[in-house]
Amino acid sequence: VKNLFGRPVSHYLLSAGFAASACAFLVTAWGYPQDARAFPAAIAMALLAFTALDLIALTNTAVGSAVRRVLNPTIKADASAGPVSRQAAAGLSLLGLVAALVLLGIEVAVPLYLFVSLRFRARRSWASTLMITAGVSVALWLLFVAALRLDLYRGYLLTRFLPAG
């Protein structure tokens, strides 16, 4: 199903995600003491009400356009962006960097990410890729290790299988 009530399903996902997170919070908070859950539960209820209105307003139906006209007259008819594959690639590359930082540590993940991004996504030459990767990595090392005296995070795998010292 690509369209739902005259709109692509992807347009509902963010609002549905907010609603799902509010529901998940309400279910989790059910066992909390009443005082502790009072404020967050009120926020979650308000979020549920607003996301319900938003989901209705997103539909291309008579009710949806009426809600849109009354509550949010400035809403854009359709948000457009680049191809989905490019957006997904950008998101995945960010998640890949985070995974590499967590698993391999900063000293390995940063040069690796810069090299892969510049060589295979930006399609730079080998020489400029190596130069930029080395330059940025050294600059970051100078800033965080030499100037700020921080011990760079070594990553889960390196800490577990290759202990320092």
Partner: protein, 158 residues
């Protein structure tokens, strides 16, 4: 502190003043070369800026969880731009949320756990009415705008 260590306090104030002036001079000196950053290819600039941003979030308290949270909010922010949701409201909620919750609990304690106290005090009532007005104003503006638009063609015909 202010009474017994005036030399240090005034030294601190002068140091901060000097730092502001020096910072302005350095900013003016490097503004032109820094403006050239805008001509760098975005496909080169984005990985570098992403890396620096994630390392900056790690360096706040040297916690790798901060990096994960930054990435999650980065993707959420992108999706909000992509589907035309206001980001400002989320940022304001993040900044003011903790204070709002603390004051909510304090007020509840003042009202013996009940919420009726919000309706019995004039400042609270005024604020509640303000919130209601903000929530209802788009609908009222929309109705007034449509009425004005429907009246305009008749006036032109006359």
């Amino acid at each position: 502190m202010l009474m017994n260590h005036q030399v240090e306090i005034y030294g601190l104030i002068w140091a901060l003043t000097g730092a502001c002036i020096l910072g302005s001079c350095v900013g003016l000196l490097v503004a032109r070369p820094l403006a050239r950053l805008t001509v760098i290819d975005s496909q080169v600039l984005v990985p570098v800026v992403t890396t620096v941003a994630l390392l900056g979030s790690w360096a706040v308290d040297r916690s790798i969880e901060n990096v994960v949270i930054t990435a999650v909010f980065g993707i959420l922010g992108y999706l909000m731009i992509r589907f035309d949701y206001p980001r400002l409201a989320l940022v304001v909620a993040m900044v003011l949320g903790a204070g709002a919750e603390r004051n909510f609990h304090q007020t509840s304690m003042m009202g013996d756990g009940g919420l009726a106290i919000y309706l019995h005090r004039i400042p609270s009532l005024v604020l509640l009415m303000g919130i209601a007005a903000v929530l209802v104003s788009p609908a009222i503006r929309g109705i007034l705008g449509r009425r004005r638009n429907s009246r305009a063609p008749h006036e032109v015909a006359r």
